[in-house]
Amino acid sequence: MSRLPTFKGGIHLPEYKELTEREKIKKLPLPPRVVIPLNQNVGSPPRPVVEVGRPVKAGEVIAEPEGPVSSTLHASVSGVVTALDLFPYPAGPDSLAIEIETDQNDSSPELIPSISDPSRLSPDEIRRKVLEAGVVGLGGAGFPAQVKLDPPEGSRIEYAVINGVECEPFLTVDNRLMLEETGKLLAGLRIIMRATGAREGIIAIEANKMDAFYKVQAVVHKEKDIRVRLLKVKYPQGAEKQLIYSLFHREVPAGGLPSSVGCVVQNVGTAIAIAEAVLSGRPLIDRVVTVTGPEIKDPGNFRVRIGTPFQYLLEAAGGLPDGEIKIISGGPMMGIAQATLNAPVIKGTSGLLVMRPVSRERNLPCIRCGECLRVCPIGLIPSDLGTMADKERWDDFEGLGAENCIECGCCAYVCAAGRDLVQLIKLGKAALASRKVQK
């Protein structure tokens, strides 16, 4: 086999995908209540347009976009709005959310008639539909999809890339979607190409998902302007900049966007959501979540409504094991450990992991083994960044290029001294940002 394309740096991780990669996507019954945080997208959070006590239907708009980079929120179930208050949030402190008590009718408003031929739509219309459907990046970051479909003035998009890499261990959402919703994926890619004017579509898949590769290949091979590319299994292959480098040997400039090297990248789930939004006018009110862990009874991939509490989701997978455990929202490398199971699934939630914590020595002095800078996909020196953040030497910290860090976690994974390098760098970046605000 010829050598598969990849990037510099990175690490090889145990995959743990076997737990769920063959589990078909299951639809979960409606939860008794949902909690829909307002803050689910990069940019400004949408403004709520419902008040407590008001009945809503599934798919009805409950918050409207605010500002140029924002998104729309919809009620994910039909029922009554019971609160607009602070609720646990999976990616940080308690956050403002709308709580809806489900009425189990699951009635939805009329969907806008479907459009069979998206090539008749203008790019502006596509973007409007995507915005109205509240589609944001489902890979985790939550970047509003319509913004990505609107390349900045002066840049010409050559490639529309579907990111089917899913390099985080454990997660199998994109894998299942590629297998089960191949047609929609392709439709989504067509729409993205149409909206951005890309001349070629690429579906990038890591070589550990051969089933998905063959399935997608079988569908795509007739298409002249769409290719499937197999990539080497390496973390973080799915990071946007690394993916673009692997595919085209182009480096997105530091601080720049993929569009500056002629690319637009969308996650598999996002592409499918775009297809649904544009073709059938269906808003983004549910998503697929991998619920897994070595000690979970029934791990699987579940299609759940946005706002479903983790508690409900975990019970569907067989409940929590006893003893000391760690709950992670997202993948094990970049995911966030949870304090409570009351936090809900949001648009960016790709997985829910239950792990046994392994205690180890942490934050010993750096022995300068240099492993972190060999695995850093960005070419930073994480050990020094960590030290500078720890000693609050912000000028040096910035001078070492801290702002380029993608927080992939490779450095902390390999650190022999067990230093929490990513945490240090995150804290440092936050301090840097607040220092800039002060100035």
Binding site: Y245, P332, A337, R360, L364, I367, C369, N404, A412, Y413
Partner: protein
């Protein structure tokens, strides 16, 4: 506050996975890599070599424990770093040193060379080499007297006139001149059946350990390759100084402490550059200084000094060999 106690989950910062690498694992792997050379030292120099090694390792560990206790820091002697320092120091001593000498060297190396700078990870210079240099220049006569290895077939040569291959060439002792027919055959040098410090004579044993570390990834190829390559090249092309006997590059390769230095000392993580390019520069510098000292300097061997001098250059090298940031 009242009622049933809620279940608390463990929360750790991302990433939630760890590769399992740890400081003890690194250090004890290096110890393992030193095992062949340790066995070789026992084989060629016998019981006395063991005594030296034991005293050195125990003193190193003891010194570290005492200092950490005094400073109120956690005592980390089980991580193996002090043991590695002690063993490496012992390897660089000749067999005939008095038994207190390795103890002084180890205490100085750990105390001044390592903990004065803040302990593991903070030291600038290789503590083992600091210890060696200290005893070398304190008690020069002990450090330049060589006994023939126990099993040498030419054991009739007495200790006083015995010398290392490099020393013999410098003093131009014709009877000891290394030559295929002379008493230092290339094979002897490769196996280790020659005069020298107890851990440095057996090129084979060191090579075994070195290759093991290379495979494990604790040693990068850049440093040993640049170091050894430069020495071989320079000793081949440069003329020797007046009165000395020219040695072939392979004598320089096998006859001194080059392998020990290149694989185990110049690759010490704490005191050498972190990037590949930096390691190349470091190795090059080591090779250059070693060759110059060996060919023109006042001492027959220069590996130790070359590494110490380059240790001082390490922060500077690190500063100028930073990797390129993606997208810049």
């Amino acid at each position: 506050m009242k009622g049933k106690k809620e279940r608390l989950f463990k929360v750790t910062p991302a990433p939630q996975l760890h590769g399992g690498e740890s400081i003890p694992r690194v250090m004890w792997t290096v110890m393992l890599a030193l095992l062949p050379a340790f066995l070789a030292s026992l084989y060629f120099f016998g019981w006395k070599a063991f005594q030296i090694e034991a005293v050195s390792v125990i003193t190193a560990i003891f010194t570290e424990a005492v200092i950490q206790k005094l400073r109120g820091r956690p005592v980390t002697i089980t991580d193996g770093s002090a043991a590695v320092t002690g063993l490496l120091l012992a390897f660089t001593l000749p067999m005939d040193v008095p038994i207190w000498l390795p103890a002084v060297g180890a205490a100085f190396g750990i105390g001044v060379g390592k903990h004065a700078f803040g302990g593991l990870g903070h030291n600038i210079f290789n503590p083992a080499l600091i210890g060696r240099t200290f005893v070398m220049h304190s008690w020069l006569p002990f450090m330049t007297t060589w006994s023939p290895p126990r099993l040498a077939m030419y054991a009739q040569v007495d200790a006083v006139t015995y010398a290392t291959p490099l020393g013999a060439a410098r003093e131009a002792v014709i009877s000891l001149v290394p030559s295929p027919d002379g008493i230092f055959s290339t094979m002897d040098m490769f196996w280790g059946s020659i005069g020298g410090c107890i851990g440095e004579t057996s090129a084979l044993a060191l090579l075994l350990g070195g290759v093991f570390l290379l495979i494990r990834g604790y040693v990068r190829w850049q440093t040993p390759a640049a170091f050894i390559g430069t020495v071989v090249l320079l000793t081949w092309v440069l003329p020797v100084k007046e009165g000395a006997i020219a040695l072939a590059p392979y004598h320089h390769l096998l006859g001194g402490g080059l392998f020990l230095g290149a694989f185990f000392m110049a690759t010490d993580m704490v005191t050498t550059p972190v990037t590949g390019a930096g390691m190349l520069v470091f190795g090059l510098g080591c090779g250059l200084i070693t060759s110059i000292v060996r060919l023109y300097g006042g001492f027959p061997e220069g590996v130790c000094y070359s590494i110490l001098v380059m240790n001082a250059f390490t922060p500077l090298i690190d500063k100028f060999t930073r990797p390129r940031i993606f997208g810049t």
